[in-house]
Amino acid sequence: MDPIRFVAAVLLGATALSSPAKDITLLNVSYDPTRELYQDVNAAFAKKWEAKTGDKVVVQQSHGGSGKQARSVIDGLEADVVTLALAYDIDAIAEKGKLLPADWQKRLPNNSAPYTSTIVFLVRKGNPKGIRDWDDLAKSGVAVITPNPRTSGGARWNYLAAWGYALKTLGNDEAKARDFLTRIFKNVPVLDTGARGATTTFVQRGIGDVLIAWENEALLSLKESGKGEFEIVVPSITILAEPPVTWVDKVTNRRGTKAVAQGYLEFLYTPEGQEIAARHYYRPRSEAALQKFAANFPKVTTFTIDEMFGGWQKAQKAHFGDGGSFDQVQAAKH
């Protein structure tokens, strides 16, 4: 046989040998308190995807304050998907990092927020300081734990929930609202970078009288403490938080992971995904899951970011940008 033909035949045979099922890795860059949620989501999705396609998927997780995570992705952290605390942080990735289109939120149902949450108070057993509502957080002698709005998405929801309450009860007066927030932040002894850090401060380190927390964090703390060490207080009015999810186009296109990344996020909307979210105390979008897990979720009266502040862009600029209300609050408290 001609040596060149022989060599070609061997090479063709070897190519056939070398095409096994794929091992795929995704990186999910998420906000601070979603560790337990995505541990279960990832295991369930990997099983489902392998059954459907034969490919093995491993989803690696990165957690931290939502703002900090967004900045990391902009600076080059190769996230296939981002599941952050607020839409503004993903907008920043789109605008500053040019890593996904500006209209990303339309790509998945419910403005790309497969679950919601809200902001409540976690207090110590017996509620020794008698915390009932936002006003009590501004009283002297009450130590309040909340993370830093500069780095934490949860902290921004907390801040805006308090501000919204102030506007509603103080005649829509911005100056009075700022004064109210100043009094609250005077009571904050420690500013963690993220929501999970704040929970650690309150629950494990035993600091503070009240933790302003994501509802899912508060419920998780109740479950994990097991001894009735804490109680949840639902304020008279609070904010509806809609943490969004999306895939990062530039990264998935380059890594060839778009199909699996999209499939991963769409899994969150499936009945199985919605039940996993509900089990982890995130309010599912699905009515069926919400009914099934209704006992997990107390009744709350909420307002949305759009209703109270005209959306995240305006809220970010007015409150968390340089010279915004948070900067003024921090300056005034000293």
């Binding site: 070897a14 070398s18 794929k22 080059g76 850090g197 380190r205």
Partner: protein, 517 residues
């Protein structure tokens, strides 16, 4: 020392005793009426004064009493909270410092050279190098002059780096050897993804397996006869990458085109470009450990050279005319046709030149095996003296090399041996020893001796038998000693290369001290 309370009690006691004494006196001593009235008044006055004293003592005691105590629990709790807050702030600061440390540029100095990189790895610079000092001694060569001695074989500082995460570069000059310093590698590589990369500049042509292995990791000090027939470095652009998790490596590029074993100059102008490509398979790379380092594939090249292409023929290593050299770097074949009508013809590359090279390697534990076969088929023309004659000459070569690390460490074709006990006599470390053996041969097309080469001087075949011992002192320093015995068919006359070289078998003892990092 008495407390205030004790002092107060004492004062009261004194007053009471005084009062009691006076009352006792009053009872014990009867008074006259006149005297009675005066004494009674006095007693009344005294009682009044005692009562006043008692009131004053009580007032004094009240004013000196300590303030009302704050509940101890509340103070302790307040202090406890303050301590916890301080501890937590410290914890957060430590976390922030740890995060910042991750963002700090890294500098490392170690067995892989000197490197610095930004925290996110998007920018990196690495300084490496290869220094090879040889000793060559030829035996039984009938006193061929000028081939024994010490040689600075390679002195290559290597600068590698990455900019903006996806752009790699390398710059490698060489100050060793017998010629003037030259640039060996100067290229930029864009990594769009591991499967798709674009490389441009001067770099190794993707054909020969042994040629593509790094100098520092070769089993022997010099490559085999097979490498005589493959191109060395060339200027060009290639697509390359690893598919299916790296189990398939591919490279395909367009180059200026260079002759066998030849290194391109910095500017080789050739209207007709050469295509070179290679496919290499490691199908068990992620599977059975015993087969992970089994690889096989093939490389090849094709070009159409215009007449008179200066770089189209083999290199002149060991001689003054293009030809092929032994492992001792002595030319045994040259395009040196005999004079015709008193004039010396010149052979030029003229037309098609293709190569194909099936190749394989295997390493498992201390064992290693490498095999390669090359065909170099080239059209050449004899010029100057009419009639000009053209022939397609097909030279072939093959080799098998084997290695065994006697001290048991693993060998890898990328990275060599990492001694379990690096050389350090004080602690009983003597490095690692590797025994190596090789056979290779190069066959010249018989038609080459029909006017293109002098058969009385150039050999038609060279066969090399080599055995050696490599002493890996550590990852960076290796001493290699080998003995190579090469026998020739044909040739053997004349006073210069290749005649004098092919007159006797070549026996060369090589010792090389290598520093590579």
């Amino acid at each position: 020392m008495k407390t205030i309370r004790q002092s107060g009690r004492d004062s009261r006691l004194v007053a009471v005793l005084l009062a009691s004494a006076l009352l006792v006196l009053e009872a014990a001593v009867p008074m006259t009426r006149g005297q009675d009235t005066s004494a009674a008044d006095t007693i009344k006055e005294l009682q009044k004064r005692i009562e006043e004293l008692e009131r004053k003592v009580e007032a004094m005691q009240r004013s000196n009493a300590p303030p009302a105590a704050v509940p101890a629990d509340s103070r302790v709790e307040s202090l406890d909270q303050k301590v916890r807050v301080l501890e937590r702030k410290n914890e957060i600061e430590e976390e922030a410092a740890a995060t910042k440390a991750k963002e700090t540029p890294k500098i490392t100095i170690g067995e892989n050279g000197f490197a610095m990189a930004s925290a996110n790895g998007n920018f990196a610079l690495q300084f490496k190098g290869v220094l090879q000092i040889d000793s060559r001694t030829f035996f039984g060569d009938d006193g061929v002059a000028g081939n024994d001695g010490f040689l600075l074989r390679r002195a290559r500082p290597i600068l590698q780096g990455t900019v903006f995460k996806d752009f790699d570069f390398q710059f490698t000059p060489d100050f060793g050897g017998t010629g003037s310093p030259q640039i060996y590698d100067a290229f930029l590589n864009y990594r769009y993804r591991p499967e798709l990369q674009l490389e441009i500049g001067k770099f190794k042509t993707p054909v020969g397996l042994e040629q593509l292995l790094a100098d520092r990791d070769l089993l022997f000090n010099e490559r085999s006869l097979v490498t005589d027939l493959v191109p060395n470095r060339d200027l060009g652009v290639q697509l390359h990458g690893g598919l299916f998790g790296g189990t398939v490596q591919y490279a395909a590029g367009i180059f200026n085109g260079v002759g066998d074993a030849r290194n391109s100059n910095n500017a080789d102008f050739e209207d007709h470009k050469a295509f070179a490509g290679r496919l290499f398979f490691q199908p068990f790379k992620k599977g059975n450990p015993a087969l992970q380092n089994l690889g096989f594939g093939a490389g090849g090249s094709y070009e159409e050279l215009s007449a008179g292409s200066a770089s189209g023929l083999p290199s002149t290593t060991g001689g003054t005319l293009p030809g092929y050299a032994t492992v001792g770097q002595q030319q045994f074949f040259a395009y040196n046709p005999a004079a015709v009508q008193g004039r010396t013809p010149i052979v030029i590359a003229d037309g098609q030149h293709w190569r194909v090279s099936p190749q394989a390697l295997y390493a498992y534990g201390p064992w290693s095996l490498l095999g390669e076969y090359v065909i170099s088929d080239q059209r050449v023309t004899r010029t100057v003296v009419a009639p000009f004659i053209s022939r397609e000459l097909q030279h072939t070569a093959w080799d098998v090399s084997a290695g065994w690390v006697l001290t048991g460490e693993d060998f890898n074709f990328v990275g060599g041996v990492n001694p379990r006990h690096p050389f350090n006599p004080a602690s009983g470390g003597w490095g690692a020893l590797q025994l190596v053996a090789r056979y290779s041969e190069l066959n010249i097309d018989d038609q080459a001796f029909s006017g293109f080469s002098d058969p009385t001087r150039s050999a038609s075949r060279a066969q090399e038998f080599s055995i050696g011992l490599n002493w890996w002192l550590n990852r960076n320093v290796r001493v290699g000693t080998s003995f190579s015995h090469t026998i020739f068919d044909g040739g053997g006359t004349g006073t210069g290369a290749p005649g004098v070289v092919t007159d006797n078998p070549e026996n060369v003892l090589f010792t090389r001290v290598q520093l590579a990092f």
